[in-house]
Symmetry: C2
DNA sequence: TAGATTGTTAATCGATTAACAATC
DNA sequence: TAGATTGTTAATCGATTAACAATC
Protein backbone atom coordinates (compact mmCIF):
# COMPACT_ATOMS: atom_id res chain seq x y z
CA UNK A 1 0.00 0.00 0.00
CA UNK A 2 1.32 3.40 -0.91
CA UNK A 3 0.39 6.00 1.69
CA UNK A 4 0.65 9.64 0.66
CA UNK A 5 1.91 12.38 2.97
CA UNK A 6 -1.58 13.76 3.27
CA UNK A 7 -3.22 10.48 4.18
CA UNK A 8 -0.43 9.75 6.62
CA UNK A 9 -0.90 13.13 8.32
CA UNK A 10 -4.61 12.59 8.65
CA UNK A 11 -4.18 9.11 10.08
CA UNK A 12 -1.97 10.59 12.78
CA UNK A 13 -4.66 13.13 13.57
CA UNK A 14 -7.42 10.54 13.69
CA UNK A 15 -5.36 8.61 16.18
CA UNK A 16 -4.67 11.65 18.32
CA UNK A 17 -8.32 12.60 18.37
CA UNK A 18 -9.54 9.11 19.20
CA UNK A 19 -6.97 8.36 21.86
CA UNK A 20 -6.68 11.71 23.59
CA UNK A 21 -9.89 13.59 23.03
CA UNK A 22 -12.69 11.13 22.72
CA UNK A 23 -15.10 9.91 25.42
CA UNK A 24 -13.76 6.66 26.84
CA UNK A 25 -17.22 5.09 27.06
CA UNK A 26 -17.75 5.16 23.30
CA UNK A 27 -16.54 1.95 21.68
CA UNK A 28 -17.54 2.56 18.07
CA UNK A 29 -17.62 5.48 15.68
CA UNK A 30 -19.20 6.10 12.25
CA UNK A 31 -17.28 7.61 9.39
CA UNK A 32 -19.60 10.60 9.36
CA UNK A 33 -19.07 11.28 13.06
CA UNK A 34 -15.30 11.20 12.73
CA UNK A 35 -15.69 13.37 9.64
CA UNK A 36 -17.68 15.95 11.56
CA UNK A 37 -15.12 16.08 14.32
CA UNK A 38 -12.24 16.39 11.88
CA UNK A 39 -13.97 18.84 9.56
CA UNK A 40 -13.64 16.45 6.62
CA UNK A 41 -16.03 14.45 4.47
CA UNK A 42 -17.15 10.96 5.39
CA UNK A 43 -15.99 9.72 1.99
CA UNK A 44 -12.51 10.90 2.71
CA UNK A 45 -12.44 9.22 6.10
CA UNK A 46 -13.56 5.91 4.63
CA UNK A 47 -11.05 6.17 1.83
CA UNK A 48 -8.22 6.95 4.26
CA UNK A 49 -9.12 4.00 6.46
CA UNK A 50 -8.94 1.66 3.49
CA UNK A 51 -5.14 1.66 3.71
CA UNK A 52 -5.22 0.20 7.20
CA UNK A 53 -6.32 -3.31 6.39
CA UNK A 54 -8.96 -2.93 9.04
CA UNK A 55 -12.62 -2.86 8.16
CA UNK A 56 -15.66 -1.40 9.82
CA UNK A 57 -19.00 -3.06 9.97
CA UNK A 58 -22.01 -1.53 8.20
CA UNK A 59 -24.48 -0.16 10.76
CA UNK A 60 -21.97 -0.50 13.62
CA UNK A 61 -19.17 1.62 12.29
CA UNK A 62 -15.55 1.25 13.33
CA UNK A 63 -14.42 -0.21 16.63
CA UNK A 64 -12.23 2.47 18.10
CA UNK A 65 -9.70 0.29 19.88
CA UNK A 66 -9.16 -1.80 16.76
CA UNK A 67 -8.94 1.26 14.58
CA UNK A 68 -6.28 2.81 16.78
CA UNK A 69 -4.39 -0.46 16.91
CA UNK A 70 -4.27 -0.62 13.12
CA UNK A 71 -3.20 3.00 12.81
CA UNK A 72 -0.41 2.22 15.26
CA UNK A 73 0.66 -0.71 13.12
CA UNK A 74 0.95 1.44 10.06
CA UNK A 75 2.39 4.58 11.60
CA UNK A 76 4.80 3.16 14.09
CA UNK A 77 6.15 0.46 11.87
CA UNK A 78 9.29 2.53 12.24
CA UNK A 79 9.88 1.76 15.93
CA UNK A 80 11.70 4.22 18.18
CA UNK A 81 13.35 7.29 16.71
CA UNK A 82 15.81 9.53 18.44
CA UNK A 83 15.16 13.19 17.74
CA UNK A 84 17.27 16.31 18.23
CA UNK A 85 16.19 19.92 18.44
CA UNK A 86 18.70 22.10 16.67
CA UNK A 87 18.63 25.70 17.77
CA UNK A 88 17.56 26.09 21.39
CA UNK A 89 16.02 29.55 21.17
CA UNK A 90 12.48 30.32 22.27
CA UNK A 91 10.89 28.27 19.55
CA UNK A 92 13.24 25.32 19.89
CA UNK A 93 12.75 25.12 23.62
CA UNK A 94 8.98 25.44 23.31
CA UNK A 95 8.96 22.58 20.84
CA UNK A 96 11.04 20.42 23.17
CA UNK A 97 8.40 20.80 25.82
CA UNK A 98 5.46 20.57 23.46
CA UNK A 99 6.59 17.57 21.46
CA UNK A 100 8.31 15.52 24.12
CA UNK A 101 6.28 12.63 25.42
CA UNK A 102 3.53 13.04 22.86
CA UNK A 103 4.52 9.88 21.09
CA UNK A 104 6.28 7.01 22.73
CA UNK A 105 8.08 6.25 19.49
CA UNK A 106 9.64 9.70 19.19
CA UNK A 107 12.11 10.68 21.85
CA UNK A 108 13.93 13.99 22.00
CA UNK A 109 17.37 13.05 23.23
CA UNK A 110 19.44 16.16 22.56
CA UNK A 111 19.40 19.85 21.75
CA UNK A 112 22.12 21.87 20.04
CA UNK A 113 22.90 25.56 20.14
CA UNK A 114 25.63 27.95 19.19
CA UNK A 115 25.43 29.79 22.45
CA UNK A 116 28.14 28.51 24.83
CA UNK A 117 25.93 29.44 27.79
CA UNK A 118 23.39 26.85 26.74
CA UNK A 119 25.84 24.05 26.12
CA UNK A 120 26.28 21.34 28.73
CA UNK A 121 23.08 22.21 30.51
CA UNK A 122 19.71 20.55 30.63
CA UNK A 123 17.13 22.78 28.92
CA UNK A 124 13.47 21.91 29.19
CA UNK A 125 14.43 18.43 30.23
CA UNK A 126 16.76 17.86 27.30
CA UNK A 127 20.57 17.83 27.42
CA UNK A 128 21.95 20.66 25.34
CA UNK A 129 25.25 20.57 23.46
CA UNK A 130 27.31 23.08 21.58
CA UNK A 131 26.76 23.01 17.82
CA UNK A 132 30.36 21.86 17.38
CA UNK A 133 29.36 18.50 18.83
CA UNK A 134 26.56 17.77 16.36
CA UNK A 135 28.40 15.12 14.42
CA UNK A 136 29.71 13.37 17.50
CA UNK A 137 26.43 13.32 19.41
CA UNK A 138 24.25 12.46 16.42
CA UNK A 139 26.37 9.42 15.74
CA UNK A 140 26.77 8.45 19.37
CA UNK A 141 23.05 8.68 20.16
CA UNK A 142 21.84 7.38 16.80
CA UNK A 143 19.78 10.50 16.14
CA UNK A 144 17.70 10.09 13.00
CA UNK A 145 15.47 13.14 13.01
CA UNK A 146 16.22 16.82 13.56
CA UNK A 147 13.83 19.63 14.35
CA UNK A 148 15.48 22.67 12.86
CA UNK A 149 14.83 25.97 14.66
CA UNK A 150 17.88 28.03 13.74
CA UNK A 151 17.87 31.48 12.11
CA UNK A 152 17.31 31.50 8.36
CA UNK A 153 20.79 32.74 7.65
CA UNK A 154 22.45 29.57 8.92
CA UNK A 155 19.71 27.06 8.12
CA UNK A 156 21.35 25.60 5.04
CA UNK A 157 24.77 25.31 6.66
CA UNK A 158 23.35 23.55 9.70
CA UNK A 159 21.28 21.27 7.48
CA UNK A 160 24.35 20.19 5.56
CA UNK A 161 26.08 19.42 8.82
CA UNK A 162 23.13 17.39 10.09
CA UNK A 163 22.87 15.39 6.89
CA UNK A 164 26.58 14.75 6.88
CA UNK A 165 26.28 13.49 10.44
CA UNK A 166 23.66 10.96 9.45
CA UNK A 167 20.29 12.59 10.12
CA UNK A 168 17.62 11.10 7.83
CA UNK A 169 14.63 13.33 8.47
CA UNK A 170 14.29 17.06 9.08
CA UNK A 171 11.36 19.10 10.29
CA UNK A 172 12.29 22.64 9.28
CA UNK A 173 10.95 25.67 11.15
CA UNK A 174 13.59 28.05 9.86
CA UNK A 175 11.97 30.72 7.70
CA UNK A 176 13.82 29.71 4.53
CA UNK A 177 13.54 26.63 2.34
CA UNK A 178 16.44 24.24 2.68
CA UNK A 179 17.86 21.79 0.17
CA UNK A 180 18.57 18.20 1.05
CA UNK A 181 19.94 15.24 -0.85
CA UNK A 182 17.73 12.45 -2.08
CA UNK A 183 17.18 9.94 0.67
CA UNK A 184 16.59 12.52 3.38
CA UNK A 185 13.01 13.36 4.30
CA UNK A 186 12.03 16.98 4.71
CA UNK A 187 8.93 18.66 6.08
CA UNK A 188 8.82 22.44 6.17
CA UNK A 189 6.61 24.50 8.44
CA UNK A 190 6.75 28.18 7.74
CA UNK A 191 5.07 29.80 10.71
CA UNK A 192 5.26 33.30 9.36
CA UNK A 193 3.66 32.44 6.05
CA UNK A 194 0.97 30.45 7.84
CA UNK A 195 0.03 33.55 9.79
CA UNK A 196 0.16 35.67 6.68
CA UNK A 197 -2.13 33.22 4.96
CA UNK A 198 -4.75 33.54 7.65
CA UNK A 199 -4.44 37.31 7.52
CA UNK A 200 -4.80 37.39 3.77
CA UNK A 201 -7.99 35.39 3.65
CA UNK A 202 -9.38 37.08 6.72
CA UNK A 203 -10.52 40.13 4.92
CA UNK A 204 -10.40 38.95 1.41
CA UNK A 205 -13.50 36.89 1.59
CA UNK A 206 -13.78 37.03 -2.18
CA UNK A 207 -10.57 35.07 -2.46
CA UNK A 208 -11.26 32.69 0.37
CA UNK A 209 -11.24 29.03 -0.57
CA UNK A 210 -14.51 27.31 0.08
CA UNK A 211 -15.24 25.96 3.53
CA UNK A 212 -14.68 22.29 4.19
CA UNK A 213 -17.29 21.21 6.73
CA UNK A 214 -19.27 18.54 4.91
CA UNK A 215 -21.73 15.90 5.75
CA UNK A 216 -22.13 12.83 3.61
CA UNK A 217 -24.92 12.88 1.01
CA UNK B 1 -7.97 36.86 -9.82
CA UNK B 2 -8.65 33.97 -7.51
CA UNK B 3 -5.64 33.07 -5.45
CA UNK B 4 -5.60 29.66 -3.80
CA UNK B 5 -4.27 29.01 -0.31
CA UNK B 6 -1.29 27.24 -1.78
CA UNK B 7 -0.34 29.96 -4.20
CA UNK B 8 -0.80 32.57 -1.51
CA UNK B 9 1.47 30.67 0.88
CA UNK B 10 4.17 30.35 -1.76
CA UNK B 11 3.99 34.04 -2.64
CA UNK B 12 4.63 34.86 1.00
CA UNK B 13 7.65 32.59 0.96
CA UNK B 14 9.03 34.06 -2.25
CA UNK B 15 8.81 37.47 -0.66
CA UNK B 16 10.50 36.38 2.55
CA UNK B 17 13.30 34.75 0.62
CA UNK B 18 13.86 37.71 -1.68
CA UNK B 19 13.68 40.38 0.98
CA UNK B 20 15.47 38.70 3.86
CA UNK B 21 17.79 36.11 2.44
CA UNK B 22 18.92 37.23 -0.96
CA UNK B 23 22.12 39.09 -1.88
CA UNK B 24 21.37 42.81 -2.02
CA UNK B 25 23.50 43.34 -5.10
CA UNK B 26 21.37 41.13 -7.31
CA UNK B 27 18.63 43.11 -9.03
CA UNK B 28 17.06 40.41 -11.18
CA UNK B 29 16.22 36.75 -10.87
CA UNK B 30 15.17 34.01 -13.30
CA UNK B 31 12.28 31.68 -12.62
CA UNK B 32 14.62 28.71 -12.58
CA UNK B 33 16.89 30.30 -9.99
CA UNK B 34 14.02 31.11 -7.68
CA UNK B 35 12.75 27.59 -8.31
CA UNK B 36 16.07 26.07 -7.29
CA UNK B 37 16.16 28.10 -4.10
CA UNK B 38 12.60 27.21 -3.20
CA UNK B 39 12.85 23.57 -4.20
CA UNK B 40 10.05 23.98 -6.76
CA UNK B 41 9.78 23.81 -10.54
CA UNK B 42 10.32 26.85 -12.74
CA UNK B 43 6.92 26.29 -14.32
CA UNK B 44 5.27 26.57 -10.98
CA UNK B 45 7.07 29.78 -10.15
CA UNK B 46 6.05 31.37 -13.42
CA UNK B 47 2.50 30.26 -13.00
CA UNK B 48 2.33 31.61 -9.45
CA UNK B 49 3.71 34.96 -10.54
CA UNK B 50 1.01 35.27 -13.18
CA UNK B 51 -1.48 36.32 -10.49
CA UNK B 52 0.57 39.36 -9.62
CA UNK B 53 -0.09 41.47 -12.69
CA UNK B 54 3.64 41.98 -12.91
CA UNK B 55 5.62 40.55 -15.80
CA UNK B 56 9.19 39.54 -16.23
CA UNK B 57 11.25 40.14 -19.30
CA UNK B 58 12.54 37.23 -21.37
CA UNK B 59 16.30 36.96 -21.03
CA UNK B 60 16.40 39.37 -18.07
CA UNK B 61 14.05 37.62 -15.71
CA UNK B 62 12.15 39.36 -12.94
CA UNK B 63 13.23 42.59 -11.33
CA UNK B 64 13.36 41.77 -7.65
CA UNK B 65 12.25 45.12 -6.24
CA UNK B 66 9.25 45.23 -8.57
CA UNK B 67 8.40 41.64 -7.87
CA UNK B 68 8.40 42.24 -4.13
CA UNK B 69 6.35 45.39 -4.56
CA UNK B 70 3.70 43.48 -6.46
CA UNK B 71 3.63 40.67 -3.94
CA UNK B 72 3.14 43.29 -1.26
CA UNK B 73 0.23 44.75 -3.19
CA UNK B 74 -1.51 41.43 -3.38
CA UNK B 75 -0.70 40.09 0.07
CA UNK B 76 -1.08 43.15 2.19
CA UNK B 77 -4.17 44.44 0.48
CA UNK B 78 -5.57 43.75 3.90
CA UNK B 79 -3.70 46.51 5.73
CA UNK B 80 -2.83 46.24 9.41
CA UNK B 81 -4.23 43.39 11.46
CA UNK B 82 -4.23 43.12 15.21
CA UNK B 83 -3.36 39.66 16.41
CA UNK B 84 -3.74 37.95 19.77
CA UNK B 85 -1.96 34.89 21.11
CA UNK B 86 -4.37 32.79 23.11
CA UNK B 87 -2.69 30.50 25.60
CA UNK B 88 0.60 31.89 26.87
CA UNK B 89 2.36 28.62 27.61
CA UNK B 90 5.76 27.74 26.20
CA UNK B 91 4.55 27.52 22.66
CA UNK B 92 2.42 30.64 22.79
CA UNK B 93 5.23 32.72 24.23
CA UNK B 94 7.72 31.38 21.70
CA UNK B 95 5.37 32.32 18.90
CA UNK B 96 4.96 35.83 20.30
CA UNK B 97 8.68 36.33 20.05
CA UNK B 98 9.07 34.51 16.76
CA UNK B 99 6.21 36.09 14.89
CA UNK B 100 6.31 39.60 16.28
CA UNK B 101 7.88 42.12 13.99
CA UNK B 102 8.18 39.73 11.07
CA UNK B 103 5.52 41.52 9.12
CA UNK B 104 4.68 45.18 9.59
CA UNK B 105 1.05 44.45 8.76
CA UNK B 106 0.62 41.91 11.52
CA UNK B 107 0.93 43.16 15.05
CA UNK B 108 0.57 41.02 18.15
CA UNK B 109 -1.25 43.29 20.57
CA UNK B 110 -2.38 40.95 23.32
CA UNK B 111 -1.99 37.54 24.90
CA UNK B 112 -4.53 35.66 26.98
CA UNK B 113 -4.11 32.95 29.55
CA UNK B 114 -6.08 31.19 32.24
CA UNK B 115 -3.28 31.42 34.74
CA UNK B 116 -3.88 34.40 37.07
CA UNK B 117 -0.11 34.73 37.56
CA UNK B 118 0.32 35.62 33.91
CA UNK B 119 -2.50 38.14 33.71
CA UNK B 120 -1.70 41.84 33.85
CA UNK B 121 1.94 41.33 33.04
CA UNK B 122 3.94 41.89 29.93
CA UNK B 123 5.16 38.54 28.55
CA UNK B 124 7.68 38.49 25.72
CA UNK B 125 6.84 42.09 25.01
CA UNK B 126 3.11 41.51 24.80
CA UNK B 127 0.53 42.53 27.43
CA UNK B 128 -1.15 39.48 28.86
CA UNK B 129 -4.73 39.35 30.09
CA UNK B 130 -6.82 36.79 31.90
CA UNK B 131 -8.98 34.68 29.62
CA UNK B 132 -12.06 36.22 31.20
CA UNK B 133 -11.24 39.47 29.43
CA UNK B 134 -11.12 38.02 25.90
CA UNK B 135 -14.37 39.52 24.72
CA UNK B 136 -13.64 42.94 26.19
CA UNK B 137 -10.07 43.22 24.91
CA UNK B 138 -10.76 41.73 21.48
CA UNK B 139 -13.46 44.32 20.92
CA UNK B 140 -11.52 47.19 22.45
CA UNK B 141 -8.34 46.54 20.48
CA UNK B 142 -10.09 45.43 17.28
CA UNK B 143 -8.33 42.07 17.26
CA UNK B 144 -9.09 40.17 14.07
CA UNK B 145 -6.78 37.20 14.24
CA UNK B 146 -6.03 34.72 17.02
CA UNK B 147 -3.14 32.32 17.34
CA UNK B 148 -4.54 29.47 19.36
CA UNK B 149 -2.08 27.66 21.63
CA UNK B 150 -4.31 26.24 24.34
CA UNK B 151 -4.56 22.60 25.41
CA UNK B 152 -6.67 20.40 23.15
CA UNK B 153 -9.28 19.86 25.82
CA UNK B 154 -10.36 23.50 25.85
CA UNK B 155 -9.60 24.42 22.24
CA UNK B 156 -13.18 24.32 20.99
CA UNK B 157 -14.56 26.25 23.96
CA UNK B 158 -11.95 28.97 23.57
CA UNK B 159 -12.55 29.09 19.80
CA UNK B 160 -16.24 29.65 20.34
CA UNK B 161 -15.45 32.49 22.71
CA UNK B 162 -13.04 34.08 20.24
CA UNK B 163 -15.50 33.86 17.39
CA UNK B 164 -18.27 35.28 19.55
CA UNK B 165 -15.96 38.16 20.42
CA UNK B 166 -15.43 39.00 16.77
CA UNK B 167 -12.22 37.24 15.73
CA UNK B 168 -12.26 36.53 11.98
CA UNK B 169 -9.19 34.36 11.50
CA UNK B 170 -7.63 31.61 13.61
CA UNK B 171 -4.27 29.92 13.36
CA UNK B 172 -4.73 26.77 15.40
CA UNK B 173 -1.79 25.03 17.09
CA UNK B 174 -3.93 23.07 19.53
CA UNK B 175 -3.59 19.36 18.81
CA UNK B 176 -7.26 18.90 17.91
CA UNK B 177 -9.29 20.09 14.96
CA UNK B 178 -11.67 22.90 15.79
CA UNK B 179 -14.96 23.84 14.15
CA UNK B 180 -15.74 27.36 13.12
CA UNK B 181 -18.70 29.06 11.48
CA UNK B 182 -18.67 30.09 7.84
CA UNK B 183 -17.03 33.46 7.46
CA UNK B 184 -14.18 32.72 9.84
CA UNK B 185 -10.85 31.67 8.34
CA UNK B 186 -8.99 28.75 9.86
CA UNK B 187 -5.52 27.40 9.37
CA UNK B 188 -4.46 24.38 11.40
CA UNK B 189 -0.88 23.44 12.19
CA UNK B 190 -0.54 20.15 13.94
CA UNK B 191 3.03 20.05 15.18
CA UNK B 192 2.84 16.55 16.55
CA UNK B 193 1.52 15.06 13.34
CA UNK B 194 4.12 16.98 11.32
CA UNK B 195 6.85 15.31 13.36
CA UNK B 196 5.17 11.94 13.06
CA UNK B 197 5.02 12.41 9.32
CA UNK B 198 8.74 12.97 9.09
CA UNK B 199 9.36 9.96 11.29
CA UNK B 200 7.08 7.77 9.21
CA UNK B 201 8.75 8.52 5.91
CA UNK B 202 12.19 8.49 7.44
CA UNK B 203 12.52 4.79 7.47
CA UNK B 204 9.78 3.83 5.15
CA UNK B 205 11.57 4.80 2.00
CA UNK B 206 9.27 2.54 0.01
CA UNK B 207 6.37 4.77 0.96
CA UNK B 208 8.17 8.05 0.60
CA UNK B 209 6.64 10.50 -1.83
CA UNK B 210 8.93 11.39 -4.66
CA UNK B 211 11.43 14.18 -4.22
CA UNK B 212 10.58 17.62 -5.52
CA UNK B 213 13.83 19.26 -6.65
CA UNK B 214 13.27 19.95 -10.31
CA UNK B 215 14.94 21.94 -12.99
CA UNK B 216 13.05 23.17 -16.04
CA UNK B 217 13.34 21.08 -19.20
C1' DT C 1 -37.27 -7.36 6.49
C1' DA C 2 -35.96 -2.27 5.93
C1' DG C 3 -32.73 1.09 6.67
C1' DA C 4 -28.22 2.65 7.56
C1' DT C 5 -23.49 2.32 6.79
C1' DT C 6 -19.74 0.25 4.75
C1' DG C 7 -15.82 -0.50 0.92
C1' DT C 8 -14.80 0.65 -3.51
C1' DT C 9 -15.21 2.39 -8.12
C1' DA C 10 -15.98 6.16 -11.21
C1' DA C 11 -16.41 11.12 -11.76
C1' DT C 12 -14.86 15.50 -10.53
C1' DC C 13 -11.95 18.84 -9.13
C1' DG C 14 -7.70 21.28 -8.52
C1' DA C 15 -2.84 21.65 -8.74
C1' DT C 16 1.44 20.74 -11.13
C1' DT C 17 4.14 20.03 -15.17
C1' DA C 18 5.32 20.08 -19.98
C1' DA C 19 5.38 22.31 -24.11
C1' DC C 20 5.90 26.06 -27.09
C1' DA C 21 5.03 30.47 -29.50
C1' DA C 22 6.28 35.15 -28.37
C1' DT C 23 9.96 38.14 -27.41
C1' DC C 24 13.92 40.43 -25.71
C1' DT D 1 20.66 37.26 -35.63
C1' DA D 2 20.60 33.23 -32.32
C1' DG D 3 19.64 31.72 -27.94
C1' DA D 4 17.48 32.02 -23.61
C1' DT D 5 13.57 33.03 -21.00
C1' DT D 6 9.08 34.51 -20.60
C1' DG D 7 3.59 33.95 -20.29
C1' DT D 8 0.17 30.86 -21.20
C1' DT D 9 -2.21 26.84 -22.85
C1' DA D 10 -2.84 21.95 -22.86
C1' DA D 11 -1.68 17.56 -20.72
C1' DT D 12 -0.88 15.09 -16.66
C1' DC D 13 -1.13 13.88 -12.20
C1' DG D 14 -3.08 13.33 -7.68
C1' DA D 15 -6.53 14.08 -4.32
C1' DT D 16 -11.36 14.57 -3.10
C1' DT D 17 -16.13 13.60 -3.70
C1' DA D 18 -20.17 11.24 -5.31
C1' DA D 19 -22.47 7.23 -6.11
C1' DC D 20 -23.92 2.74 -5.22
C1' DA D 21 -23.88 -2.35 -4.60
C1' DA D 22 -22.86 -5.18 -0.68
C1' DT D 23 -24.12 -6.16 3.90
C1' DC D 24 -25.13 -6.07 8.70
Amino acid sequence: MNISTKVMGRLARYRALLTDYFPKEKTHIFSHDLAAMMGLSASQIRRDLMCLGYFGVPRYGYEISELVKHINNVLDASKLHHVAVVGAGNLGRALMTFLESRRATLKIVAAFDDDPDKANRVLNGVPCFHMDLVEEVVKRDDIRIAILCVPGAVAQRVTDLLVKSGVKGILNFAPVPIRIPVGVVLEEIDLTSALERVAFFTNNRANAPKEKRHADR
